[in-house]
C-alpha cells in the first residue's frame, strides 16, 4: 500500500501526541495533580494512530479504560482531555468522567468505557444505526486480549457478522489482561482465529508497526464502508506501563519490558521516515509543536476552574421530554 507523505507525517504526529500526552500525565499523576487511577496506553500508539487515520469525523469509535490513545487519534483535543483528567469543569465531561470515560459525540467518540468488553456490543449499535440510516459511516471498536474472553465478545461478533454491520473490531493484544498473561487466560495465541467461527474476515498485524496497522485497517474500513461487513484485526503489541500507574508489575520481568521498549513504534517509524528521505527537521518540528500543544494543555487544565458542587447532579437525565 502506497502511503503519501502527508499521511505518514500525520501518523507520526498522532503517535507522538499520544506518547507525549501519556508521558506527561504519568508525571502529573505521580505529582498528585490527577486524581483516581490511570491506565497508560504508552507503547500501543501505532494501533490507534494507524486505525483512526482512516476514519472521518462522522465515523465512530468505542474505546476502553485504556482510552487516551484512541480518543486523541480520533481527534480529541489534548487541552479538554487534560482538563478532564484534572477533574476540571472545562474537561470533556465537565469532570464527571475522568480518564476512563472521555467522550466527544461531535467527532464520533462514543466514549471510553470502563467495563471490559462492554464496547463491543455498543459499537454494533452505532454501526447498526449507520446501516439503518443509510450512511457509509463505520465504527472502530477497540478492545484488548482480556476483553476477548467476555460474553459480549461472542454476542457482539456474532451479531455484527450476522447483520453485516460496518464495524472494525480491533483487538489490541498487549499480552496481559491486567496482571494475567495471555497464556494464562486463553489457550489460543491468536485472538484473530476466533473470527473464523463468525465467518468474519480477520488479520493479524504487528501492532508496533504503524504502517502495517494502517494497511490492515484501510482494508477493513473499505470493507465496512462498502457494506461488506465487519473485520477482526488483531494487533500484537505490548503495554509498556503497568495495568495502572502504581502497578507493582511483579507478574513480568524487566527484561521482557525492555525487549518491547526496543520495539518502540515511534522510534521505529521515525527511522523508516528518515530512511525514506523525510528531513529530520520536519519531524523535529512536529515534536516541538506537540510539546507546545501539551504545555498549553497543562496550563489550560491547571488554570481551569473546578466544577461547583451545584453541578454534581446535573446531566443524569435529559430534561426536555418532547411528548406531543
Amino acid at each position: 500500500m502506497e502511503v503519501d507523505h502527508v499521511t505518514k507525517l500525520g501518523l507520526y504526529e498522532t503517535m507522538v501526541r499520544i506518547r507525549r500526552f501519556e508521558e506527561v500525565v504519568i508525571e502529573l499523576f505521580a505529582r498528585g495533580k490527577i486524581p483516581g487511577f490511570l491506565h497508560s496506553y504508552l507503547g500501543e500508539e501505532a494501533v490507534a494512530a494507524g486505525a483512526c487515520a482512516h476514519l472521518r469525523p462522522d465515523d465512530y469509535i468505542t474505546s476502553t479504560h485504556r482510552g487516551h490513545g484512541h480518543i486523541l487519534a480520533k481527534g480529541a483535543r489534548t487541552d479538554l482531555a487534560m482538563a478532564e483528567l484534572f477533574g476540571k469543569r472545562t474537561g470533556y465531561c465537565h469532570g464527571k468522567g475522568g480518564s476512563m470515560h472521555i467522550a466527544d459525540p461531535d467527532i464520533g467518540i462514543l466514549g471510553a468505557i470502563g467495563i471490559v468488553g462492554a464496547g463491543l456490543v455498543i459499537a454494533n449499535g452505532a454501526a447498526f444505526s449507520a446501516q439503518y440510516r443509510g450512511t457509509d459511516q463505520v465504527v472502530a471498536c477497540f478492545f484488548g486480549d482480556g476483553a476477548s474472553n467476555t460474553g459480549t465478545f461472542h454476542e457482539g461478533l456474532n451479531l455484527a457478522s450476522l447483520w453485516q454491520l460496518p464495524v472494525i473490531f480491533i483487538c489490541e493484544n498487549n499480552a496481559y489482561a491486567e496482571s494475567t498473561p495471555q497464556r494464562e487466560h486463553q489457550r489460543i495465541k491468536d485472538v484473530a482465529i476466533r473470527a473464523q467461527s463468525y465467518d468474519m474476515p480477520s488479520r493479524i498485524v504487528d501492532g508496533n508497526d504503524v504502517l502495517a496497522v494502517y494497511e490492515a485497517a484501510g482494508e477493513a474500513v473499505s470493507r465496512a464502508r462498502s457494506g461488506s461487513g465487519p473485520t477482526l484485526i488483531e494487533a500484537k503489541t505490548y503495554r509498556i506501563r503497568g495495568h495502572y500507574e502504581g502497578d507493582p508489575q511483579d507478574y513480568r520481568t524487566r527484561e521482557e519490558v525492555d525487549l518491547w521498549r526496543e520495539r518502540c513504534p515511534i522510534r521505529r517509524f521515525r527511522e523508516v521516515l528518515l530512511k525514506d528521505g523525510v528531513a529530520e527537521d520536519e519531524l523535529d518540528a512536529i515534536d516541538a509543536q506537540i510539546e507546545a500543544e501539551l504545555e498549553a494543555a497543562i496550563m489550560f487544565a491547571e488554570e481551569s476552574p473546578l466544577p461547583d458542587v451545584s453541578e454534581a447532579r446535573y446531566g443524569i437525565f435529559t430534561e426536555t421530554a418532547e411528548v406531543t
Binding site: K96, P105, I122
Partner: protein, 324 residues
Amino acid sequence: MAEITYREAVKQALREELQNDERVFLVGEDIGRFGGTFKTSLGLLDEFGPKRVRNTPISEAAIIGLAVGAAATGLRPIAEIMYCDFATIAMDQLVNQAAKMRYMFGARLSLPLTVRIPMGGRRSAAAQHSQCLEAWFVHVPGLKVAVPSGPYDAKGLLKSAVRDPNPTLVFENKMLYNTTGEVPEEPYFVPWGQANVVRQGTDVTVLATSDMVSYALKAADTLAAEGVSVEVIDPRTLVPLDVETIVASVKKTNRLVIAHEACVTGGVGAEIAARVGHDAFEYLDAPIERVGAKDSPIPFSPVLEKFILPDDEDVIEAVRRTLR
C-alpha cells in the same frame, strides 16, 4: 373508547410509534415472525418489514448494547427482554452503560431508548421465569421505570417512553396481557410521574403496582362490604415517583398499605414506606404495612407458588392490621 387487551394496547403503542417516527425500531428475541413470546409484536414484521422489526439471536447483552449504541447515534430503539429474569444477562448494558453514559460523558449525549420487560409469576414458570426485579433498576440513577397496571396505561406510558429522551424501562406484567380495559380510539399519552387514584376512599390507602392493582381493587370491594373505605393508588411509574399524590392520600386516610408482586425485602415498598414515613409521619395512625411475595425463589408447583405470591387476601389482612 374501545375495550382491548393489555397485549393489544402494547401492540398499538408499538405500531403508532413505528408509524410516527422512522427512527423507531423494535429489537429483541423472537419478536419477528413469531410475534414475541407474549405476541405483543405479532404482525408488526409484516406491517413494517425486517428493517424496523429486528429479530435477534439469544443475546441479551447484545440487544441492549445495540439499543445503547443506536440511541447514542440518532435512533430510537424499543428493545424487548423476553423475561424479566433475562435482564440479568444485560445488567452491565442497562446499569453501567445506558444509565450512566449521559452523566459520565458530561451530558454530551442523550439515550432515547425504551426497554420492555415482561415480568411476574402465577404461571408455574418457576424460579427463573417469574421474577419482578423492578426495584433493582429503581435503585440506579439514570433509569426511568414504569409498571403499567392496565391497557390504558400500558399504551399511554409506553408511547411516552418512546418519546422520552432518556433510557426508560417498562415492566409489563405477563398475567395482565389477556386482561381488558377501555382505551381511547385517538392517540394519547400517559405522562410519567403522575400517580392514578384508581378508587377513592377514606379509611386506608392501598398503594399497589402492576397486577397488584386488580388485587387491591378486589380487596377494596370485600372491605367495603364490611364498611371499610379503601383508597387505591397506582403510582404508574416508580421513577419518577409521584410522592405528592401518595402523601396527600395518606394525610387523608392516615393508613398505608403498599402492595407489589416482587418480594418484600428490598422491594420498592421499602422506599415508598420510608418516603411516606418521613413526609407524613405525624399523620400515620398505624405502622405502614407491606404486601409482597414472601422472600423466596418462586416455586414451580401451583400450590406453593400461590402461597408465596401475594393476592387480595394478603391485601385484606394488611388493611385489617392497620385498622387494629
